[in-house]
Symmetry: C2
Subunit: 213 residues, 2 copies
DNA sequence: ATTTATCTTGACCGTTTGGTCAGGTTAAAA
DNA sequence: TTTTAACCTGACCAAACGGTCAAGATAAAT
């Protein structure tokens, strides 16, 4: 294949790089989600990505570098869902939007949620900085909003952190524990209908639970 | 030390066995909780248990045998907390009792909860039988109770599974994600006071959320 | 056509892994 | 006291681990 056949300026090489990196990242996300950082192996990642193991190390110098890259991706998506909390005029609408966004993220990217779970369970060795700065700032500012709603008598007086933890836990449960839910559902993954129903139930219980229904 | 010095009939040997097994089990619980089955190493377990690695294999033939034993323990404790759901006359009292029992279990035995989380995240390879029989039976019978409460107009019409998943997720979050909670709490573990407060908030939000307040 | 830069990979290396074992110590039984 | 059964452990092993590298293949630039 000549240079002319592809786009100009080394577009083919760039495409190869992008393709391979994407393949490796997708495989790594799967393997890290199943086994966490320590339990995952580069050989297994290579196998799933369908590239020789040496090629994994050509694109990502170390297992840790690959892991950190995956964590960045996971955090980016988390922040994206978080932004739903911005429109803070109507408490019920805002909370509903946030819960629904987090539920949808659990459905769309369960592996990311599982990687995060591994990371925290193990003690957040790689991400404690990110949590104590970026995530904590985000959370604290939402707590302020919730406290304002409470002060304005728009909702019940609840501990905002407890509420947020409940939302974190419940929404992520549908990703992290989907295998358990599947078994309870007679060994069938939740259908789109069942998931939508679950989402509505979660929203309703929480909104009513804090006096927003 | 002679046989006479200890109780009769080989009590000393039995005591040694019990002591060592307990030490190894405690260490294994810690290590499996941090790294899951695959990521945990027998060398690390031996180190924490303060016995030579060969001794770990003297008491537990393989890493998998040790892991299964730990899983049994975890399940036993889970079933113990589950029994709180038995007194099913008063919905609010029953649910409150169950939620509080699960919260207390997360506080008292966080490692067990984390091991369970690892196990499910990975796909419940060792425990799918236990879940699809024992746990599912337990859950389905509680769902019947909740549906009866709903039919009797004692609480809102909610999807019982969604409600139970919310309780699982939220209570276990205080064990599995305690490191994250700690960071949000300015790098301090929740005090007994804060935990009691969180527990009460969780109970209040859920009970009110399903129309039991 | 030749050079250069990037991509590819089988073979390899030192270390760590789960697990074994021979030979020892200790306590219970005879 | 002697025998027996259980406990203990340093040393070891094959396999799997993360990572390296030299040598070749491919495509872009000259």
């Amino acid at each position: 294949m000549t240079a002319r056949k592809s786009g100009q300026n080394g577009a083919h090489k760039a495409a190869i790089r992008q393709e391979n990196e994407a393949q490796i990242l997708a495989a790594a996300e799967l393997v890290f989600a199943d086994y966490g950082f320590k339990g995952a192996t580069t050989a297994r990642i290579a196998e799933i990505a369908k590239v020789p193991k040496a090629n994994v190390h050509y694109y990502f110098s170390t297992k840790e570098a690959l892991y950190r890259r995956i964590m960045e991706d996971v955090c980016d998506h988390w922040l994206q869902a978080a932004s739903t909390f911005d429109n803070s005029t109507n408490p019920a609408e805002t909370l509903r939007g946030y819960i629904e966004a987090k539920m949808d993220l659990s459905r769309a990217r369960p592996h990311g949620s599982r990687i995060w779970a591994h990371e925290i369970i193990r003690g957040a060795k790689f991400s404690s900085d990110y949590i104590s700065t970026t995530v904590k700032s985000w959370l604290d500012s939402r707590v302020v909003v919730i406290n304002r709603w409470i002060a304005e008598g728009k909702m019940d007086k609840v501990e905002p952190y407890s509420l947020m933890y409940m939302i974190f836990a419940t929404t992520q449960h549908y990703a992290d524990f989907s295998r358990q839910i599947e078994i309870f559902n007679n060994n069938n993954p939740l259908s789109d209908e069942q998931f939508t129903d679950a989402k509505e139930n979660v929203v309703r219980i929480i909104l009513k639970g804090v006096g927003l229904a």
